[in-house]
Amino acid sequence: MVSSSPMRQHVETGQKDNGDGDFKTELLALIPFLRAFARSLTGNQEGADDLAQETLVKAWQSRATFIPGTNLKAWLFTILRNQFYSDRRRAWRQAPWDQDAAERIPGGGEDQIFSAQLSDTARALRVLSDEQREALILVGAGGFSYEDAAAICKCAVGTVKSRVARARKALMEILDGDDTLAGVTRPAEGDAAREIMAQLDRLAPPETGETGGKRRPK
């Protein structure tokens, strides 16, 4: 006799799957978004698809802890993100490297080989900190609310808001170089991150409010 978990409130069909079939159908439908989020985290296709597949397996194994009626997409993204950071921590332990250097170099680390194929925006995204990048992708591309993004990233809503705002400013600086409005110039790659930090300091004094990047319509 199979007793269904109290978390799983699906209608009993009398068939063998107790709603697992539904769960699987929903997983299938969300695979494209898992791949897209994974791609933005890893910066390369192969690593991203491995990550998305690991996520599917983890999600399937943990399906009893998913509360039906809550946001499955956000639940899956949380698993994917946890998996990404735990895989990477493991990789660091196995092959220590200079993280600071990797973060200064666009396309540094594992996605170096692929950077030639990436658009300017994709490359600029690699320069952002992990925290800024994931916040910007979730809110700016994935369509998540600040609240859902905060739950996925395990931080406060205000923290997500400020990360997104900083990420947007930083991306613009990276893409547009010294002259924010030129829209065409591209900084020399190695100098990009240092240059952004310097520009952020100059352009975004703590009081803010003047650049428009943070201003939100009511």
């Binding site: 199979v2 063998k16 799957d17 697992d20 699987k24 997983l27 299938l28 695979i31 494209p32 978004f33 791949r35 897209a36 989020f37 791609r39 933005s40 698809d49 998305a52 597949q53 599917l56 397996v57 399937w60 658009s119 925006t121 994709a122 995204l125 910007l136 992708i137 700016g140 591309a141 994935g142 947007r168 991306l171 613009m172 893409l175 547009d176 010294d178 002259d179 924010t180 409005l181 829209g183 100059r202 352009l203 003047e210 650049t211 428009g212 990047g213 201003r215």
Partner: protein, 67 residues
Amino acid sequence: MQWDNTVSNDEKPNEKARAIRARQRAIGRELRRMYDDVAQEPVPDDFLDLLRRIDDAEDARTGKKVS
């Protein structure tokens, strides 16, 4: 870059703020495009195979338990 605070302090910042917002919107569109491009790719067979394997494992497991 510094504003020239000795001359008209009103118009330039507004213009600049507008231009920045327009640029931010363009970057936002590009981010969504990148994300949507991946999301619109057909799901690779590996993924479908993986879900099928999960199925098989599940059949084996529940088959054992139910009988």
